[in-house]
Amino acid sequence: MAFREYKIGVRMFAFALGSSMIITLYFPSVDMASVQATEYALKRQLAYGRIGGFSYEDPLLKGWGKPVTVTLDKDPVTGKPIEPTEAYVYPPGTPFPSGITHPRILGEGVEDLSVSVGRISEANKENGAVFIIREGEFQGQTVAYIENATATRGWQAQTTLAAVSDDARQYVGSGKIMFVREGCWWCHTLLPEQTQDWQYFGAPPMLGDFNGESPTAFGSDRKAPDLLHVASRNSSREWMKLHFFNPRLVQPHSIMPRYDYLWGEVDAEGNKIDYDRWRAEYDEYVEGKRVYPPEVPEPHPDSEARKLIDFMMFLK
């Protein structure tokens, strides 16, 4: 740095870049951190679990260490009938989402109620927990908050899971992992736009709809319908099954890839799936040598396909 000018230049550079960082990083993060989480945000983070991408609990993106969403119509402890309630079951060892570990990100009111009434700070990862979403009053305003039902009602994770049949369980969090891993978001967005799109794809999200979710996987490049509210317009698991196995069974012009490999080795009855035969028969169908396409196997309850369909059904 022989020249005095260069010293000045380096300082000017630090000043310019520093100011730019203050405006583009510090101000927005202060602004966004103070946002109040909506009910939608609470649902999502509780159903998805801690992280939707690479993480300690799930380094290979297999959907490990994620909560199970269950629909309860009776109290799992007393067995008394209750209003149908969605509960988010974290079996022992499943990491909690940010809203539980750092309630600050829930925003004013939601944080206060979740901690004082919902007792979320008593939740313990080693023992597991069951969360539900409730509504309460905060300074004259109705807000949704998280209740730790393990602390308030004694619902243990294992008993709650055992109290419902497999049909009432939804592997939403693991399904989101499949969505991220399989790159669905390279074609589908999860963000109806603010300016148009409403009529078909549904309402665009709001400022507080994402607190606690990571990654948000909005997608930038839309080659296919937006999926944020897909289950509101199409809630048929049967259709999803056919469509994921081979989209061209239900939509001949689709450019969506086949996701038959998510079925794994065996179908719901435990029979081995013969992919080669299926593909050969499908080709015959395409060539007009068969009247009907081959039967699509029912996914095994532990298969990745089932989890992905659970995730789709969650997107209302």
Partner: protein
């Protein structure tokens, strides 16, 4: 290569690191565009290669994007930095050995990171798809050693002033390290929600704006004066370019999320700053075109100038698009459509690739002290790139406009998919031309290394006549 890794620094011939980087970048270019062409085929013909998880579109797209950005473009940058920085400082590279190690680690690290992405181990964040352990390798194993070499070489220079190119080089490596550190905080610290979404795009925007664009421009600030023999038209305009990049390019990240529920002030601010990107753009283009005064015939006769000036000219539509498509008035129509994909390729495959290709062509001839093997093949490569890119850009722009119309009139989505189909095929054809051109380039450079006419000491490659 292996023998140089364990030699004493003084014994490694100057330029070794640059040569390795040069050839690595070309190989990554071939691989990256091959992957691009494969992906394009899958979008045009969805049943082309099916049933294998690793070869499905969702597993391959990010591998293409990062192979071209971190393999081709960034390695070509490293190559140019390793030979231009010392040349402009009238000195040697600070550490040739560090450079060779840098190149080896870069290739290994990138191959590993891309392999992980390929089998689906990703962070789920566009452009920062690499998982955070790999990000740390990129920051401390790849970018920091590169920066160290550049900064120390500039510091040890034997000239008094620092030429514009070196200003850009030194600052850009520093900025890209900051961008990687800050842009990946959502993964390091599990930040969530809109903060995560915003930082994802803050990263994506700044990798392009504070790394790819300025370094590509800096390269041409060297190549054009060097090859034409004209001095740079104006250093002041060069400085205007530099400072306006730092100020205006680092701020509009939010314009990638105009359709998302970010705070309104942030979107408006980003949009205005985004238009100001035209300041560095105009400074850059006018400075270089004015440098060409009196030497325009070289645009036809000389292969490096042909590439560079094509890249500079492509910067004009690029920045006009870039400056205006992010304003609310236009963004609502084109957001999330093929138009943006076309724009991304105009920036990276049009503008930037042409500038880097020129520098790699030129640098390898200087370093190997051999004249380019075949002008005919180089011209063939040029036209394959230009025609292939143009087909790509035009077809995706049209596809994007169709998608935009489909979006605002809310036609059933499948009709848009059907309408886009011909353009998807055209894009595949165009991209495949680029891929074929690159294979030819690799061959041509290999032949240059083994059979190019030696350049006598003290002469520059462009002073010799082409032979084939």
């Amino acid at each position: 290569m292996l023998k140089y890794l364990f030699m004493r620094n003084e014994d490694i011939p100057p330029g070794t690191a640059a040569v390795f980087f040069g050839f690595s970048s070309i190989v990554w270019f071939v691989l990256g565009t091959g992957l691009g062409s494969f992906n394009a085929a899958k979008l045009a013909f969805p049943d082309f290669v099916t049933g294998i998880e690793m070869l499905s579109f969702g597993h391959m797209r990010q591998v293409h994007v990062l192979a071209v950005i971190l393999g081709w473009i960034s390695m070509a940058f490293a190559m140019t930095m390793m030979y231009i920085t010392p040349a402009l400082g009238n000195t040697k590279l600070w550490s040739e050995k560090l450079g060779v190690w840098n190149c080896a680690l870069w290739n290994i690290g990138l191959a590993l990171g891309l392999f992980l992405l390929w089998i689906g181990i990703s962070s789920g964040r566009e452009y920062s798809d690499l998982i955070w352990p790999v990000d740390l390798v990129v920051i401390f194993g790849v970018l920091f050693p590169l920066g160290l070499n550049v900064w120390m070489t500039i510091k040890n220079r034997r000239t008094q002033g620092i030429y514009t190119t070196n200003w850009f080089f030194g600052a850009a490596v520093f900025m890209v390290i900051v961008v990687f550190l800050v842009g990946n905080t959502p993964e390091f610290f599990n930040l969530t929600g809109l903060t995560e979404a915003y930082l994802t795009w803050w990263f994506a925007h700044n990798v392009l704006g504070l790394w790819i664009t300025p370094v590509a421009a800096a390269i041409s600030y060297y190549v054009v004066p060097k090859v034409t023999g004209n001095p740079l038209y104006s250093h002041r305009i060069g400085h205007l370019h530099f400072w306006s990049v730092v100020v205006f390019y680092s701020t509009p990240a939010a314009h990638h999320l105009m359709a998302a529920p970010l705070p309104e002030w942030l979107k408006s601010f980003a949009s205005v700053e985004g238009v100001l990107i035209l300041v560095p753009a105009i400074a850059f283009v006018s400075n270089l075109l004015l440098t060409m005064t009196g030497k325009w015939r070289m645009f036809v006769e000389n292969i490096e100038i042909k590439y560079t000036i094509t890249g500079v000219l492509l910067a004009i539509p690029l920045n006009v698009q870039g400056g205006f498509q992010q304003t609310r008035a236009i963004n609502w129509y084109v957001h999330g459509t093929g138009w943006i994909v076309a724009h991304a390729h105009l920036a990276l495959l049009g503008f930037s690739t042409f500038l880097e290709a020129a520098a790699v062509y030129y640098g390898l001839q200087v370093l190997l002290k051999r004249k380019i093997y075949s002008l005919a093949l180089a011209n063939f490569h040029y036209w394959m790139l230009l025609i292939g890119f143009s087909i790509y850009w035009i077809s995706m722009t049209i596809a994007g406009l169709i998608q935009g119309a489909g979006k605002i009139y809310e036609v059933p989505y499948i009709d848009v998919v059907i309408a886009e189909h011909p353009y998807m095929i055209a894009r595949w054809v165009g991209g495949t031309l680029v891929f074929i051109g690159n294979i030819v380039w690799l061959y041509n450079m290999y032949k240059t290394a083994v059979a190019g006419t030696p350049i006598p000491a003290g002469r520059l490659p462009h002073e010799l006549a082409y032979e084939r």
